[in-house]
Symmetry: C2
Subunit: 436 residues, 2 copies
């Protein structure tokens, strides 16, 4: 293998990739009626022609160009770095990506510039894993516990998780790591699917797609909810009637409710024995989540896909506001920050059920789930990774689902790589109207 | 007066205005060592040549162009509206500014697009007040309680403040409104100043400027802190030594600490009898603020200038995480959202001490403080409005401070109007390097 010090980032390219998904109502929910699934797509070129670091931030259309512009401004900071610097000075580089106080003002540590930082972090980890010829989950799992702890920014975090606790968690899991890796490769990890449950679908299409999902081996299916209690009850009754008690059923309100409204609505769905209710209210209302969770117990509350940073997760965990931790690959500060969240969830004994779908989110987040399974929390926890069967055809190494399970990714890196033909076909030309 | 239905928004102009303040270290603090105070500046033209709605979002430099781009994309939605529509359909228009789910994904309800929504909201209120030939504070104060409640978005808020409670607060204050208006005009409202306290200043400059501030009539002075406990203690000892116990002294850590660190640090400053400690940790860590507040009592904790939305304020108030509510004119969703925050603070019996400084923040936020004093919480509360004596010369109607007090603004509107000469002189040309 090439020496890491010989590999250097020599160039940066970005692409504004948008798919016109609003035309088919794929992805429609209570808050997002007409998303155009998009990627602010980043590639880091190296002096080795076929080796590049790739990542993206998922957006739902308009504004993707602003997200891309933020990524460009941060990515320039890593140009010229060699891979041994990226490995040895990883935390320093990550901190530097967040250190521009003028950009921080527009957050701080959430929103467009924080996601941009995440995009660069993910691309760097992609590059490290590729250079080591391992899929990211395995590359991470085979690092030393201390090496992992050393890449985590513990600022604003220590009252939730400190470095000693993080190290202890990783050390504890160390002995079962090799066994877990073998098991992950032979069994995969359970997926759940949201494909049948979009609000834009009528009952017949929903039931048809649910039938197909069950036949495909999915044990848990999630349905969008929150626009009308009557509709939610009808849809869930139909599902329970046709598929019985064995099917695990979750619902997702996509932030539709206020706190009191959420409590009343969720309690009206108690009879459906839901595996979880997702995003009952605004994702930054950690106090609200905690009140809702207490008032609807034992129905589990899930959230996290739009939680802006580790600081939100920390508060949710401290207040018992989430029973299920839904990390997202591109919302927070990339692998560096998601490592902290995964370890903190373990400390608070809450399972990770990653958010996916979108564009490339399944491809990317599966690595964090497999890492969690083999090197952090093992196989005892409930763990379902979201799966939506859209847009995978645009990726070079699409996820592989067999009998309702994600198969352990084999290709090196984080697998955000899109096909060149898809990138060029769906590159968006900014409309004058969009820019005023 | 012209009929409101005859006045129409006919055009939108935006300007990327940046002042090179990093050269003088004005505005330096523990987290923001070299800000270039900037304004993403918005004007709404009407069919009446001399009537335009003006507002801005304050940023500290790089990224101001992205903020401006977000403003442009939302401002286009109000083109063509007449002033009677803006008055009668105010909440509908405000909701429409936040309703683009594709932009919302990049927040939600915080960050660049939320501040952009605030910019448009503020410009519309500026226009309404100007058309009614009143300063904004007085225009708002003289609206009917019901008219004010009708412009508030209570979503995600009702567990903190609902419409009935808001109405009750305003009705209660109604009888003393005219007396309060007279008092506000004759007495003004107390200011505090941060001008002497920037971290970039040496002890001599700090003491010199403090002396001048005391001579100018300021009763409360705020010093930046948080880089070194030794330095903080030395600076505060010097201030107490030279100016005695009578001077009210606050400190501002600008989010420098973690939760436990904040508790220890603040307790080491107890002997200085601080009026408040500001921004001890990350502004979205509401749980952390609540723990800090409890552990350092009776030292009051202040925060809010970077709280992303009403939802953060709601949680801080519910958890008793802030003793002092520091609203900012341009961080949240404009007048519409700040009305909700002012009323909620009143419900929780916490005083409003607005954040200002920056570019035009004093000019704009004073209106919210005067409105609070005359129409919401009266004159009994502690209330100091931040004042920093920078950059006022660029404004058409600069704030007027006399004997340490803000004088009630007399000019129509919200007073964000900059001089044309300043706008053109400081309009920023995007550097190629900045754009990659």
């Amino acid at each position: 293998m090439t020496n890491l010090s010989e590999i250097k980032i020599t160039g940066i390219q970005t692409f504004d990739v948008r798919f016109p998904t609003s035309k088919s109502l794929d992805g429609s929910d209570a808050m997002n009626p007409d998303p155009d699934y998009s990627a602010a797509y980043l590639t880091l070129q190296t002096n080795f022609l076929h080796l590049q670091g790739v990542s993206l931030v998922f957006t739902i259309g308009r504004g993707n160009d602003l997200q891309l512009s933020a990524i460009e401004r941060l990515a320039i900071k890593v140009k010229g770095l060699t891979l041994d610097q990226i490995f040895n000075d990883n935390l320093k580089i990550y901190m530097d990506l967040g250190s521009d106080s003028q950009y921080r003002w527009l957050g701080p540590e959430y929103g467009i510039f924080h996601m941009a930082r995440g995009a660069v972090s993910n691309a760097l980890w992609d590059l490290l894993a590729k250079a080591n010829q391992k899929p990211l989950w395995r590359y991470l799992a085979e690092l030393e516990p201390k090496e992992l702890v050393n890449v985590i920014d513990f600022s604003y975090l220590e009252d939730g998780l400190n470095a000693d606790e993080a190290l202890e968690i990783l050390e504890l899991a160390r002995d079962s790591k090799q066994v877990n890796i073998s098991r992950a490769i032979s069994e995969g990890l359970p997926a759940y699917t949201t494909s049948p449950g979009w609000l834009g679908y009528d009952d017949q299409k929903m039931l048809q797609l649910t039938r197909k999902a069950v036949e495909d081996g999915f044990k848990l299916i999630k349905f969008k909810c929150g626009l009308s209690l009557k509709d939610d009850r009808r849809r869930l009754s139909l599902v329970r009637e046709k598929f019985g008690k064995e099917l695990l059923v979750a619902v997702d309100a996509n932030q539709k409710w206020g706190v009191d409204e959420a409590i009343d609505w969720i309690n009206e769905l108690k009879e459906f024995d839901l595996s979880w209710v997702e995003e009952p209210t605004h994702p930054e209302d950690v106090v609200g989540h905690s009140q809702i969770a207490a008032a609807v117990a034992p129905t589990p509350i899930a959230t996290g896909e739009m939680a802006g940073s580790r600081i939100t997760f920390k508060q949710l965990l401290k207040l018992d506001g989430q029973a299920i931790v839904q990390i997202d690959a591109t919302r927070v500060g990339g692998v560096n920050e998601n490592l902290a969240i995964v370890l903190m969830a373990r400390k608070f004994k809450k399972p990770i059920c990653p958010h996916a779908g979108g564009v490339g989110l399944c491809e990317m987040v599966q690595h964090l789930a497999f890492f969690d399974a083999v090197a952090v929390s093992g196989f005892k926890n409930l763990r379902y990774i979201e799966f939506v069967d859209h847009l995978h055809e645009h990726f070079k190494y699409p996820v592989e689902i067999q009998n309702g399970c994600y198969q352990a990714p084999k290709n090196p890196g984080m697998n955000a790589d899109m096909k060149e033909s898809s990138v060029s076909r769906y590159t968006h030309n900014l409309d004058k109207k969009e820019m005023l």
